[in-house]
Every structure is written in structure tokens, then in C-alpha cells.
């Protein structure tokens, strides 16, 4: 089991996430139909398609540059809430990993934490507002715990995806306080948040690509 993440693996992760958003496009849009405006799947698929094109055109092995390219693609191709939020996530992950061609568990954990902080700074969501933050926050926390427990990379990744999955599922009963779903008031309860779902897919893609 590898103890670090290579540039190629990061590229694989980006590709994997693109594939998954395209595969799950319908499902993400279905979730967004219930409590939003029926475009989250389309948005993410459009953005990740553009992101893959941009990173594939890159030379070198700078993980930070690749992540920033993804962020820029998302910012300029997605729009909506997901564009700036996922864009910021990747841009901040890129800032945290600039010049690196390999990440160990600590590096990955710091990067994701930086990304989450960017999302929160941009969107001002708090936990339990029923947003992607509800999947990302436990994922970051799980990585930190795993590190403290001395877990290896693969176990840590699995735990963070697991935590994201749980966070995603916990959005179901919540009444949304941020984003479009908040307009529904109490009617938003009983539905899973689409952004939390795509964030779980992002973490699961990491398990599939870095394992």
C-alpha cells in the first residue's frame, strides 16, 4: 500500500471524479430537483469535463498547478453555487500544494482542510446548514483523526470517505439554511443535499484513485 499520492494519482483522481459526476449526473440533478433547481448534475458534469481538458493539457508534475487548473475551470465553466464553491475548494487545495509532486497523508489532509476553509469563507455555511460543508467537514476531521491515530494513507482515505458519506446522509433530515434549498423552509427536510452528495463522490473518488 503506497504511503503517498503521486502527481499521476492526483490526475487519476481528477479524471475519476469527472467520470463519476458524468455517471451520476442524473442522480445529482434529481436530488437538486427536489430541493433546488435541477441543475447540480449538469453543472458538475459540465465543469469537470472542462477541468479534465485543462489538466490534460498541462505539462510537468506540479500537483498545485493541476488543482488550480481544475479550480479555474470550475469557476469559469460552472456558475451557480457549485462553480465558485468547488472552484474555491480546488483553488485553495492548489495553493496548499503548490510546487509539490507528491503528497503524504499530512499533505493531503492539509490540502483538503484548506479547500474546506475556502468553501466556508466563500459560502459562509455552517455545519448543519444542509450543504456540501456537511460532507467535507467530517471528511477533513476523519483525516486528522486518522493521522493522529497513525493510520496509513489508504485507511485514512477510506475513513474520510466514510465520514463524508455519513455527513451526506445526515443532511437528509436537516432544514436548509443556505443555498436554494433554504427557500423551501421546512419542506427542505427529508431530502439529501445534492452538493453534499457530490462532495462525498469526490472523497470516494480519492479512495478509488489513491488506494
Amino acid at each position: 500500500m503506497a504511503s503517498s499520492i503521486s502527481y499521476d494519482q492526483v490526475m487519476a483522481w481528477i479524471h475519476r471524479f469527472a467520470d463519476v459526476t458524468i455517471e451520476q449526473r442524473e442522480e445529482l440533478t434529481r436530488l437538486d430537483t427536489a430541493i433546488g433547481d435541477a441543475d447540480h448534475g449538469t453543472n458538475m458534469a459540465r465543469g469537470m469535463r472542462a477541468a479534465v481538458e485543462r489538466v490534460d493539457a498541462l505539462d510537468g508534475d506540479d500537483i498545485g498547478a493541476a488543482l488550480k487548473a481544475v479550480g479555474m475551470a470550475l469557476v469559469s465553466k460552472v456558475g451557480g453555487a457549485a462553480g465558485p464553491l468547488y472552484g474555491t475548494l480546488f483553488l485553495q487545495m492548489g495553493n496548499a500544494t503548490g510546487g509539490r509532486s507528491e503528497l503524504d497523508l499530512a499533505g493531503w489532509s492539509e490540502a483538503l482542510d484548506a479547500g474546506l476553509k475556502g468553501v466556508v469563507a466563500r459560502g459562509k455555511a455552517e455545519p448543519e446548514d444542509k450543504t456540501m460543508v456537511d460532507a467535507l467537514t467530517p471528511a477533513v476531521q476523519a483525516l486528522e483523526h486518522a493521522q493522529n491515530d497513525g493510520a496509513d494513507l489508504s485507511a485514512a482515505l477510506a475513513q474520510s470517505a466514510e465520514a463524508a458519506h455519513e455527513g451526506m446522509e445526515k443532511t437528509v433530515p436537516l432544514v436548509a439554511r443556505k443555498g436554494r434549498a433554504s427557500y423551501l423552509g421546512e419542506r427542505s427536510a427529508g431530502h439529501q443535499d445534492p452538493g453534499a452528495t457530490s462532495s462525498y463522490l469526490l472523497l470516494q473518488a480519492a479512495v478509488d484513485s489513491f488506494g
Partner: protein
């Protein structure tokens, strides 16, 4: 195929006059460019529509933008006396910062640029990012966020009220002020004042279908309606049995009247807006009820706008917007406007 069929990842049956769900906005823009080259120029990448004589030197530029599917808003409002540019996003998806940034540059006549932003998380964040970039480029920008939808309970901890019908009125009034040479600070303050005096609420008889999703945004029974909808096909706050127009108008108007509040002696601009699929004949019935209701409360409709001006694709339904008028706002409303969708002299 205009049906989203087997090889389209979205599946479903969409009955639309389109070639492909992915090309809707691009081809619409091509149509606008072909039809209205005398009034507007269209940039395709990044996508924005700009008045043909932009930038107007020494004049405040006004841009707005938002998801597509609300036509004629915003592209139909580009022209003398209203918007200098509009940035269309994908259907119901706010545009991206590079669109707003490019549009901002294109309308910068040296007097600064006002961004009129509807209050949706996506719109606000993308405009914020655009402003961050544009101010780096040396253009003075200001932004006013419109949040006139009384259907949404406002609170410090939520995304706040949506921007809906009031946006059209703010764009018209601020466009007139800019045309008269008002400064960025003045136009910005005016826009905030309009936002402070305008309230809206909407309802739907049917959902709408985005080309990308291919399925209705919600399901409504034959005898049901949604009260308190926005403009993105999202469900409203309440589902109720269908009622006569008079009762529906009361349901939309009373929360508006009580929120500001509008009181006896007030003069208002009454805006009865169709959501896209409701025939004009019904909108006049709604207007008639609104007029009677307001008359009964001593509120005078001094100006009106009736028609499909801020839509939700083919959704059937309507929204009511009231703007409290004063002499300045009335004069700015009456000032000439020459756009594709709104025109008088």
C-alpha cells in the same frame, strides 16, 4: 433531437423547440445576435450581450446577469435607458465570474460599473468573484443585491430573500438614472432605495422542465397550485388547492402589502408578471383583481407593467410586484427606454 432521448444522459421526454439540451443558450444567443444586431452585440465566450454603443463614455455602466430561462430578462433589457450588458448563465445557473468581468470591462465608460445581482447564493458568489477580478483591473464597481421576494422568510442565518420581479424595475429605473449622468454612488444608492421599496410574490399552476433535467421541477395535482415559488422552477413554500383568481391575488398581495408595509395613500407601480406559460388574458384578470384589492385599501396604481418579463421557462403562473413610487422613481420609470423587450419614449 428535441426529445432528450436514449443517448442523452438525462433521459426523459422534453417537448421543446430545441436542437440539443446542451446548445440551448448558445443557439439562443446566436438567434439574438442575428435578430438584434442593430441594438446589441453578442460575445459568445465568455457569453454576454452588450448594447451596440457600449461603453458610453462618462456614463455609469449597469450590468446584470443570471441563469437563462427567465427571458426576456436580462438580455431583453440591454439598451439605452436600461442595461449596458447582461450575462446569461446556463438555464437556471448563474453565470461565471469571467462573463461578468468581461462584460464589466466592455461597459466601463470611465464612470464605474454597477452590478445588479439577484439574491441567490450562486449569483452573489459569482458576481463577488467577478468584482474581485475587475477591481484588480482598475474598474470601479459597485453591487446591489436585489431581494424582494416576501415568500421567503428572511433571517441572518439563511440565504435571505430571493431577487425576483423587483429586479426588472430596478434595472429600468437605474438605467434611466445612468442615462441622465448620475454617478456610480448615486445610481447605487438609487438601486438600494428601489430594492427597499419593492416587494414581490409568485405562484405556479404548473412546474417547468429545464432542458438539462428533462423532468418537471415538481409534481402538482390537477387541482393544486404552489404558492411562494421563485423563478427557478423550485417548489414554493406551500401547496394549496386551486382557487379563483381573486383569492390567489389576495394570497400574493397581502403578504406584499403587509411586509413593506404599503399603506393608504401610497402610489405604486404594479407589475403583474407571467411565469412564461400563462396567457396574457389571464394576467389581465389578475391585474383587474389586484387593482380592485388595492383600491379597496386606498393604494393607487400609478404605473403598471403586465406581461412576461421575468419568467421560469414554460411555467404557468404569475407573480405580483409592487414598488412604492415617489416623484423621482416615477419620472425615472417614465424616462425613455429602448431595449428589445421594453421600449417607450
Amino acid at each position: 433531437m428535441s426529445r432528450v432521448d436514449g443517448d442523452n444522459p438525462n433521459g426523459g421526454d422534453v417537448k421543446k423547440l430545441i436542437n440539443s439540451p446542451d446548445d440551448v443558450v448558445k443557439e439562443e444567443l446566436e438567434g439574438i445576435a442575428a435578430a438584434h444586431g442593430d441594438r446589441v452585440r453578442v460575445s459568445f465566450d465568455p457569453a454576454y450581450i452588450v448594447r451596440v454603443d457600449a461603453p458610453v463614455s462618462g456614463q455609469v455602466g449597469i450590468i446584470s446577469g443570471g441563469g437563462s430561462g427567465h427571458e426576456p430578462m436580462h438580455g431583453g433589457y440591454v439598451g439605452r435607458g436600461m442595461l449596458d450588458a447582461a450575462c446569461p448563465g446556463e438555464v437556471f445557473t448563474s453565470p461565471t465570474p469571467d462573463q461578468m468581468e468581461a462584460a464589466t470591462k466592455a461597459v466601463d465608460g470611465g464612470a464605474g460599473v454597477l452590478h445588479i445581482v439577484k439574491n441567490y447564493t450562486g449569483d452573489v458568489m459569482n458576481f463577488e468573484m467577478a468584482a474581485e477580478i475587475a477591481s484588480g483591473g482598475g474598474t470601479e464597481t459597485a453591487a446591489v443585491v436585489i431581494d424582494d421576494d416576501v415568500a421567503v422568510k428572511d433571517s441572518l442565518y439563511t440565504a435571505g430573500r430571493r431577487g425576483v420581479g423587483g429586479t426588472v424595475l430596478a434595472e429600468k429605473i437605474c438605467g434611466a438614472a445612468a442615462e441622465q449622468g448620475k454617478s456610480l454612488a448615486e445610481v447605487t444608492e438609487l438601486c438600494q432605495r428601489v430594492n427597499g421599496q419593492v416587494r414581490s410574490m409568485g405562484m405556479a399552476l404548473t412546474p417547468c422542465i429545464t432542458p438539462g433535467a428533462g423532468t418537471p421541477s415538481f409534481e402538482l395535482g390537477d387541482d393544486e397550485m404552489e404558492i411562494g415559488i421563485g423563478i427557478h422552477g423550485e417548489p414554493g413554500r406551500e401547496r394549496l388547492p386551486l382557487e379563483p383568481a381573486a383569492k390567489i391575488v389576495e394570497r400574493l398581495t397581502m403578504p406584499i402589502v403587509e411586509d413593506l408595509p404599503f399603506s393608504e395613500g401610497d402610489k405604486v407601480l404594479a407589475f403583474v408578471n407571467g411565469m412564461g406559460g400563462t396567457p396574457l388574458i389571464e394576467l389581465y384578470i389578475v391585474y383587474n383583481e389586484l387593482n380592485k384589492l388595492l383600491q379597496g385599501r386606498g393604494i393607487t396604481i400609478d404605473r403598471n407593467l403586465i406581461g412576461n418579463y421575468i419568467t421560469s421557462l414554460e411555467m404557468a403562473g404569475c407573480s405580483i410586484t409592487l414598488l412604492k413610487l415617489d416623484d423621482e422613481l416615477t419620472a425615472l420609470w417614465d424616462a425613455p427606454v429602448d431595449t428589445i423587450a421594453l421600449r417607450w419614449s
